[in-house]
């Protein structure tokens, strides 16, 4: 985990893909890993990762912390800290395969934890806020320790390497989830490191992103006023915190969030004939101007029970959506969808700023 991100510029695409079963049927990670192969040239080997939902049913009431440590000492120090805050019901080395394509791995562990009720009570915090603050604290203050996944019944898996190799490394063929997202990284501006690979997560929220945020610093300055800390030295993490702030803290709907981060042009809002819709957009752009994300992006946002795909309002990155039976597929390229499901139907490319929201049937996850 060398922290040279930001000190070197590498001029450069990325690849994203996702699949979800609306019926909550669980799939192994094999298909999503395969889907990254035809998009190989969109990545350059400096980062690959996956988020999987529904993979830990036996621990579904516990927060699954996936962590990178620089060394054993960092782990010991962090575990002592975790024990002050959580009941740890299970801690183990992340199962991985040694393969030549993935090298220089940090120490990778996972913990299933429950917040100590007495702490929650003393701090008068709800569980999620407590976990989110703890994640921020570790990532900011404990050098050599990184939480890269912290949701219930979900997990992120990421590394420096090509995504198809990262999938093999983390044995994703042995997990079963109802929803998967994937990312192949081609870092623009900065070199790759383990923490800088996608997805970027907080609680059960995860983001995979193809693009480059022109508004990054404006977004970062705003969101850091609310206790979030951008520590991972790359632009995408700010999207994760914006999603958390707007959804969990401000309690906006997914559609409203899309209208904030990929707001239509004022001219487009002015020309709206639906008065309610027009006012809503005026309101959201006025209240959250600093959370408009400009620059090219296509993202897939994962959460417990669903996915949202979104393009920047100018649609400067490609994204295709298809479906078959209970499944919906999303990818940067149609070829990736055809790998997962050769007979996918209703293939279409959502317009810029048009969110595609897919939720698993109530009670099915």
């Amino acid at each position: 985990m060398n922290n040279i991100e930001g000190k070197v510029r590498i001029p450069s695409g990325c690849a994203i893909a996702a699949v979800i079963s609306k019926d909550g049927n669980r799939m192994t990670g094999e298909k999503i890993v395969e889907s990254m192969k035809p998009m190989h040239d969109r990545s350059n080997g400096l980062g690959g990762g996956f988020a999987a939902y529904g993979i830990y049913p036996e621990y579904k009431d516990f927060y699954a912390l996936h962590m990178f440590f620089n060394d054993r000492a960092a782990r010991k120090e962090c575990e002592a800290f975790l024990k002050e805050r959580f009941e740890i019901v299970k801690s183990e080395i992340m199962p991985t395969r040694k393969i030549p394509a993935i090298t220089d791995e940090p120490v990778i562990w996972r913990y299933f934890v429950a917040p100590l009720q007495s702490n929650l009570h003393n701090l008068q915090l709800d569980e999620k806020e407590y976990v989110a603050r703890t994640v921020m604290k570790i990532n900011c203050e404990m050098s050599g320790s990184f939480v890269f996944s912290s949701g219930k019944n979900m997990g992120a898996f990421k590394a420096v390497g090509f995504p198809e190799d990262v999938g093999v490394f983390y044995k994703l063929d042995e997990y079963e989830g109802y929803s998967w997202t994937a990312h192949g990284r081609y870092p623009t501006n900065t070199p790759g490191w383990w923490g800088g690979a996608h997805p970027f997560t907080l609680l059960d929220y995860s983001i995979v992103h193809n693009g480059e945020i022109s508004s990054y610093d404006a977004n970062r300055r705003f969101i850091e006023m609310f206790g979030y800390k951008c520590t991972l030295q790359t632009d995408t993490e700010v999207i994760t915190y914006i999603m958390d702030y707007l959804l969990r803290v401000q309690k906006l709907t997914l559609n409203e969030v899309a209208s904030v981060i990929a707001a239509p042009f004022w001219s487009t809002i002015d020309s709206k004939t639906d008065l309610y819709d027009k006012q809503k957009h005026e309101y959201l752009r006025t209240v959250f101007p600093s959370l408009l994300i400009t620059g090219p992006f296509s993202i897939v946002f994962g959460f417990n029970g669903g996915l949202m795909a979104l393009n920047d309002r100018l649609k400067l990155r490609s994204m295709v959506v298809g479906e078959k039976d209970d499944k919906v597929f999303i990818a940067s390229e149609e070829a990736a969808i055809r790998v997962m499901e050769p007979n996918a139907e209703n293939m279409y490319a959502p317009a810029g700023g048009e969110p595609v929201i897919i939720k698993v049937k109530e009670g099915a996850f």
Binding site: P38, K315, S318, E333, A335, R338, V339, M347, A349, G352
Partner: protein
């Protein structure tokens, strides 16, 4: 001649194409980029999904895709023909300077971005369905025709012809004026225009099995930049 390209890299596919007869069918194509780039004397049919930049710098070859195509088809193509039996992704015909792209379905964002022409080199793109936003962005020459067939009247999304300073875009029907920038003129196609459109549509209708007269039996609108030099004196007196 049939070539199974399952699992091949794009450079291997192009090598096989160069060594092949003039008539080739590629089977099992799945996302390989740059297929047939720069080729001039082949007739290629593709089953499966060709990757981005299909037929980039194409120089006379003919490509038929029996399905959808991804982004940047015909990037900077100089001559030849690309026929897509499905939809086409973003930035189709990017900076195209000659040849023809015929699309049965819809086009993504930025179709025909920065098309250009010079003397007898006039690129032509015909979109059977509707076009996404920024159609003909920075268009400098050439002709785009949008037919809006089977789209419930939808022709084009936001901001078509932004930065247009040459060439023409024809729409079958009347696109909403409000989505165009101010520097574009929209007029009803004249008889001369219609003759020109007919000439282009004959082959298109034949390829996709449409009745040409039915396509032409509608008023067409033509979009052009509103002067021959809309950026005159913007930077220097010219």
């Amino acid at each position: 001649m049939m070539i199974d390209v399952t699992g091949l890299e794009f450079n291997e596919i192009n090598q096989k194409l160069r060594e092949s007869d003039n008539k080739v069918i590629l089977q099992g194509c799945l996302g390989q980029r740059f297929i047939a780039s720069g080729m001039k004397d082949k007739n290629i049919a593709i089953d499966g999904i060709p990757g981005n930049a299909l037929g980039a710098y194409l120089n006379g070859a003919s490509i038929t895709v029996n399905g959808n195509a991804q982004d940047a088809v015909g990037d900077t193509m100089n001559d030849g023909k690309i026929i897509i039996h499905g939809d086409i992704g973003d930035a189709a015909g990017y900076a195209m300077r000659g040849g023809k792209i015929y699309i049965k379905g819809n086009a993504g964002y930025r179709a025909g971005i920065h098309m250009k022409e010079y003397q007898d080199k006039v690129p032509i793109m015909i979109i059977g369905g509707s076009a996404g936003s920024f159609l003909g962005e920075y268009q400098a020459g050439g002709v785009i025709v949008v037919l809006g067939l089977n789209t419930n009247g939808k022709l084009v999304s936001n901001f078509p012809c932004t930065g247009m300073h040459g060439g023409k875009v024809y729409f079958r029907g009347e696109p909403p004026k409000s989505v165009f920038p101010k520097n574009v003129c929209l007029k009803l196609a004249t008889q001369e225009d219609m003759k020109y459109i007919e000439k282009q549509i004959v082959e298109y209708a034949e390829i996709f099995g449409y009745n040409k007269d039915e396509i032409l039996n509608a008023p067409f609108t033509v979009a052009t930049p509103d002067s021959n030099n809309p950026y005159k004196q913007m930077y220097v007196a010219n």
